[in-house]
Symmetry: C2
Subunit: 230 residues, 2 copies
DNA sequence: CTTCTGAGTGCACGCATGTACACTCATGTA
DNA sequence: TACATGAGTGTACATGCGTGCACTCAGAAG
C-alpha cells in the first residue's frame, strides 16, 4: 500500500493516484453533508442517500468511506476541527508578534473567521448539543482542548500569572463560551445583517472586558466554594 | 364550545369532559416526545408515528392536535417554558423575602431545579441550536425574555443601579448564558455523578463571582466599542 | 504483460414513514 | 329524546430509506 515512493515532494506523492481519488470522494461526501446542513437542518434529519446524491455518488459507495451517518459525523468533527486548530495556531503566532492583542482586535478577527467558515461553525454549533452522543462528545473534547490551550496562552500575561491552574481554566472556560455564544448568535442572523452583527460583536467585546476586569480583581482564596450538602 | 358554566371552580369547569380528554391526549403526545428524546435523540430523529405509538394513540390521531412535528416542537417550547417561567417567578418572590440571595444559593437552587426537570431542560438544550428554525427562534425568544427579566430584577441592587440599560442587558446576557452553559454540562453527565456535578457547579459559581466583580468595576464610558471598519 | 485489488455501480428487498379517507360512537347541544 | 360534532380508529398507499450482493473495470503490484 501507499507506495510510488520515488522520493518526490512527500506531501503529494506518498499517495497513489487511486488513494488520491478516494480521498476526493470522501471529501465530497463530507462537503455534501455540510451543504445539506444549510437552511437549519441537522445531521439527524439528513439521510445517507441524500448525502450520496449530493456528492454525486451511488448510495452504497458511501460505505467505502464511513460505517454509517454517525461515522460521517465524527469524521466531520475531525475534519473541521483540524482546519480550525491550524488557523487558530496561526492567529496565535501572529498575535505573539504584535504585543498587546487588544480584545477588540481578537474578537473582530474571530467574527471574520466565523463568517468566512460559516458552514463549519454552523455544523459545530448545531451538533454540539443537538447531535448524537458520539458527535457531541467529540465536539466537547475539542472545546476542552481550546479552553486548555487558551489557559496556557494567557498564563504569561500580567493578571493571570501566578494564578492557580483551576482558576485559570475557569476563566478560560468563561471566555471561550462567551465567544462561542457570539458565534452561535452570528450564525442565526440571515446573513448580511451588518448592523446587528456589529451590535452582537460589541456586546461580546464588552462582556470580555468585564470578565478581564473581574479577573484583575480576582483573589482565589476569596472565591472558594464550600461543599455544602452533598 | 367550552360551556358547562354552572359556576364551579372556574379553573376546572370551563372545560367540557370532552375537551378535558382531548387535552389529556395532547399532553400525552407532548410527554411521549419528551420521553423519546432521552438517550440523546433530537426531535429531528423522532417520527410522528413513534410519538403516537409512545402516547398510545393511532398515528392519524396526531393530526387532531398538531399540524406536524414542527407544530409539536413549538407546542413543547410553550408548554415547557410556561412551567419554567412560573417556577422562576416563584423563586424570585422567595428571593425578595430573603435579602442578599447569595450567588451560591441561587446556583445550587438552579442546579436542583435542572436535575428535577431534566427532560424539559434536555429538550431546550438539544433544540436550542440543533432544532428546526421555528423551534430555535421560539427558544431564543424565551431566553431573551429571561435576560430582560433578570436585567430588570438586578436594577435595584447596588452595583447595577444607575447603569445604562444596554450595559445591564449585556451583563444579564452573560449571566444567563453562563448558567445555561452549566445546565447543558450537567445534562451531559450520565446522572448520579455527584462529584463532577459539584465541580461544575463550583466552577459556575466562581464564574458568576468573577462577573459580579467585574460589574462592580465597570464604567460604561470606558467600555465603549468604537465602530471600526463597518 | 498479467494478475489482483477495491472504489464505485446497479438492482433488489423489506421496512418504516407521512398522510388520505371513510369509519365509529361517546359526548355535547337543543 | 334526537341530532350534530369531532376525537380517535383502521385500512391503504406511495415514497424514501438502509443495506445486501454480484458486478465492472481503472489502476496498482509483480
Amino acid at each position: 500500500m501507499n507506495s510510488r515512493s520515488e522520493a518526490l515532494p512527500p506531501n503529494e506523492r506518498t499517495l497513489t493516484l487511486r488513494d488520491e481519488r478516494k480521498l476526493r470522494t470522501r471529501q465530497a461526501l463530507l462537503d455534501a453533508a455540510l451543504t445539506l446542513m444549510g437552511q437549519g437542518r441537522s445531521l439527524a434529519g439528513i439521510s445517507l442517500r441524500e448525502v450520496a446524491r449530493e456528492a454525486g455518488v451511488v448510495p452504497t459507495a458511501f460505505y467505502r468511506h464511513f460505517r454509517d451517518m454517525d461515522g460521517l459525523g465524527l469524521a466531520l468533527v475531525d475534519d473541521v476541527c483540524l482546519t480550525l486548530r491550524k488557523l487558530m495556531r496561526e492567529a496565535r503566532v501572529a498575535a505573539q508578534g504584535a504585543r498587546d492583542v487588544a480584545i477588540q482586535t481578537s474578537v473582530q478577527g474571530f467574527v471574520g473567521y466565523v463568517l468566512a467558515n460559516d458552514r463549519a461553525f454552523e455544523f459545530l454549533t448545531r451538533e454540539r448539543f443537538g447531535g448524537r452522543p458520539a458527535v457531541r462528545q467529540a465536539i466537547a473534547r475539542e472545546i476542552r482542548y481550546f479552553v486548555a490551550e487558551l489557559a496556557n496562552d494567557v498564563r504569561v500575561v500580567p493578571p493571570f500569572a501566578a494564578m492557580p491552574s483551576d482558576d485559570l481554566e475557569m476563566i478560560a472556560d468563561l471566555v471561550v463560551h462567551t465567544v462561542l455564544n457570539l458565534s452561535a448568535d452570528l450564525l442565526e442572523l440571515p446573513s448580511g445583517q451588518r448592523v446587528r452583527e456589529h451590535e452582537l460583536t460589541a456586546r461580546t467585546i464588552k462582556q470580555l472586558r468585564l470578565i478581564f476586569l473581574g479577573a484583575a480583581q480576582w483573589r482565589s482564596d476569596r472565591g472558594a466554594v464550600p461543599l455544602g450538602p452533598i
